[in-house]
Amino acid sequence: MARFVLRRLVTMALSLWLIITVTFVIMHSVPGGPFSSEKKAPPAVLQNLNARYHLDDPHWKQYLDYLGGLAAGDLGPSFKYDRTVNEIISQCFPVSALLGAVTVLFSLAVGLSLGVVAAWRPNCWPDYAALGLSTIGFSVPSFILSGLLMYLFAFRLNWLPPAMWGGWQHLVMPVLALSALPTAFIARLMRSSLLEVLRQDYIRTARAKGLSPAGILFNHALKNSLLPVVTYLGPLVAGVFTGSFVVETIFAVPGLGRYFVTGVLNRDYTLILGLTIFYAFFLMLMNLLVDLVYLLLDPRIRLAGSGGDRDGLQKAQG
């Protein structure tokens, strides 16, 4: 297993390097820059700006300087904000992460329950209801859902504050808005996976032995049907923890999501690169953890000897 993890870390590093390079090239090919503005500044001012941020160096030198800083853990200053990229990430990530964690837990709780209910009596009304709910969940865009929630709970009923961040009341609406899509996905994944598992012979044996439905579910079926959900969980956690631009802007949550978009709009090169690296690293880490969790879930899975990890895992499942 140690060898597997080590090899994985090496591929992660290589991927990160590739991502940094591609992002760097694309960034500098797009028109505009961090200091373009409607009012043209005199040449002396532009000269000073470029000197301070090393924008007058040739691109390859800027690239190497950036990699050098990266090795020391320094993501550089933001070109737009009076903070370093490290500061922005360390101030905003915990907020997005908390919102993300609650969202994932909530989505799991509701999604798994819906999936189980749907699969237990397929093609009956609980199944249709659960499927219907999940279709709505991934069809309604998050900004519409956010608007509706705010209108209902903050404007009409006055139960919750419309926006900002602070206490548990500020978590409710963003979590509901963010978890619509993941809940829907998890419900569907759970349903199809559980249906598959419940057809297996050992389940029929368990029923024949007289095990109660709840017993079958919790002792045998659940663990074996969780694999697709776990697979989905990796990218989900990475995506949700790094913040959603739409939900965070609408509910004035001071998270990381908005900086992904404003960084690009502002051509804030260091912020764009820093956030891309952060997200890529986080995503790859989550995928690695997901692969390790497979081991816990299914003892038939062996870590593949050569490349193509996930294919290797599936083949071993037989």
Partner: protein, 537 residues
């Protein structure tokens, strides 16, 4: 069963932890009968910086103007009032300004001295500071050379004759300079604090100010909390105890917070609510000295022909635009310099020069178009209106598109580009027609007139007229304000007669304001709100 129990407990635990970890901000109550002197204002964005030498935007300038004070300060009627400078005098040739400072204090007790201004202005000009707005001080002798790295700081013509006397020498007469000293880039900073902690502007615990309010906290993307600065020289005039500046980006969310009683004042009004709230139901419309216009690329056919430009300018219905599309009581523009800019008599430039340099005249427009070779729009090349991706601008462009089609038979497209790409296209003249807006840097017509000199950095039309250039040069060299203004009036007439730009309307500034909020100064330019004299009734 176990799994389910554990899952439920986990969810509950996280909710509980979130409650403990949070700042405990609950729904705020609206201003009560005993009227606590607190205003909650939405800035609508996170400030990029709170260092006066680095700030370039209006939101940053707004926060800074409530925390600092420059040599002068604008009063409620756009008049210049003494700030840190209690009186000043200008030499006969208009080059030497002498400011006598009052005995004011910083919020940490240090006295505000002339040396503080020298230090701060040199800091703005220092090439190492790399300030985007260093050019605001290029009026000073030796300033541009120092900023280009070709001169020394000692050669910049600003000096402290004594503790409370500041002497400034300009390169050429510039009547707008006095008003500029009210502008955030020219604010003083405390030299002692700046030398001890160069990063003082990043956190509020080392932040020292000399203005009406001092900062207590800056929660990024949430709020900046200000309280009354008791050491401010004019603290007696400040009635507000606390000013909470919210940083909520989404205007609709801000509106919801206003409805819920969490906000008292917001600079932007959601467009869909504008018509409903206009008649005094929470929206106050303030003047804005800015002009909304379309540029023509005069280097491309058919806009190299002034008859085509004039025809297009005369065939849209501006009243209908401001009534039905923009809906904030804007003023149709038939000239370029907006309302709100004073001239040499102290009255409004527009009052003396009028706002009728051309008329909307369909018959005349059709005649001009036919004369130029495109009768009834036949043979008109396919051109496009370039705009950035803002719903309001797109609506205006579509309305204009329709008006030209209906009135002249001329078909144009609408091209939408992302802000920076749009700026780049505008700069490189990669357009046929381009939407634009311009606000003043200072309250003087020159900030609009000098846009269109030959090869001007912000000309962006390709237009060049020697007579125009000569008039601008004449105005810049004139010490007599009457000669200066008259030259600018002549220049504007030339601009409109040739129409390289098509003025559409003069902006207004609608704000969401609760009735209990009084005394806020909303200037027509530079900053969004000055709360020095504000209070809650």
């Amino acid at each position: 069963m176990k799994v389910r129990v554990i899952l439920t407990l986990a969810v509950l635990a996280v909710f509980a932890l979130a409650g403990c970890g949070g700042g405990g901000q609950t729904v705020d109550k609206p201003a009560q009968a005993k009227a606590p002197q607190l205003i909650r204002y939405n800035l609508c964005t996170e400030p990029e910086t709170l260092d006066p030498a680095q700030a370039t935007g209006q939101p940053e300038g707004t926060v800074l103007s409530n925390m600092f004070e420059g040599l002068v300060r604008y009063g409620p009627n756009n008049e210049i009032r003494p700030g840190i400078a209690r009186e000043w005098s200008v030499s006969a040739d208009g080059l030497i300004y002498t400011f006598k400072l009052r005995e004011a204090k910083w919020s940490n007790g240090d006295p505000v001295t002339a040396r503080d201004f020298v230090y701060s202005w040199l800091r703005l000009l220092d090439p190492k500071t790399a300030s985007e707005y260093a050019y605001q001080l290029f009026y000073l002798k030796g300033a541009e050379e120092y900023n280009s790295g070709q001169g020394k700081s000692e050669e910049v013509a600003v000096r402290a004759k004594d503790e409370l006397t500041l002497e400034v020498t300009l390169k050429a007469p510039a009547p707008q300079f006095l008003g500029l000293t009210a502008y955030p880039s020219l604010f003083p900073v405390n030299p002692r604090v700046d030398k001890e902690s160069p990063d003082w502007a990043k956190s509020m615990d080392k932040y020292v100010v000399n203005g009406p309010f001092r900062p207590v906290k800056w929660d990024h993307n949430q709020r900046i909390d200000l309280v009354k600065n008791e050491k401010y020289w004019d603290a007696g005039s400040v009635r507000l105890e606390r000013l909470e500046i919210y940083l909520v980006d989404n205007i609709d969310t801000g509106y919801n917070m206003y409805q819920a009683g969490q906000l008292d004042f917001q600079e932007e009004v959601p467009t869909q609510e504008m018509a409903r709230l206009k008649g005094g139901n929470g929206v106050k419309i303030y003047p804005d000295a800015s002009v909304y216009f379309y540029r023509f690329n005069v280097t491309k056919k058919p806009f190299n022909d002034p008859r085509v430009r004039r025809a297009l300018a005369m065939s849209i219905n501006r009243l209908e635009l401001v009534d039905k599309v923009t809906q904030a009581n804007q003023v149709p523009a038939y000239s370029f310099v907006p309302i709100g800019i004073p001239d040499e008599t102290g009255r409004d430039f527009r009052q003396n020069a009028g706002n009728q340099f051309f008329k909307e005249d369909l018959a005349e427009a059709k005649r001009l178009l036919a004369e130029a070779g495109y009768p009834d729009g036949r043979g008109f090349p396919r051109v496009s209106i370039l705009t950035n991706a803002h719903a309001g601008h797109q609506k205006v462009a579509q309305a204009v598109q329709q008006m030209w089609k209906q009135n002249l038979g001329v078909e144009v497209g609408v091209t939408v580009q992302e802000w920076q790409v749009y700026n780049d296209s505008q700069d490189k003249l990669n357009f046929e027609i381009c939407r634009a807006g311009w606000g003043p840097d200072y309250l003087d017509p020159m900030t609009f007139i000098d846009l269109f000199v030959t090869n001007g950095g912000n000309n962006d039309t390709g237009w060049s007229n020697r007579e125009y250039d000569a008039l601008v040069a004449k105005a810049n060299a004139a010490a007599d304000p009457k000669v200066r203004m008259e030259a600018m009036r002549q220049a504007e007439k030339i601009l409109i007669s040739e129409m390289p730009v098509m003025p559409i309307y003069f902006y207004t500034n609608p704000n969401l304001v609760r009735d209990s909020v009084k005394g806020v100064i909303v200037p027509p330019f530079a900053i969004s709100a000055d709360f020095k004299q504000a209070y809650i009734e």
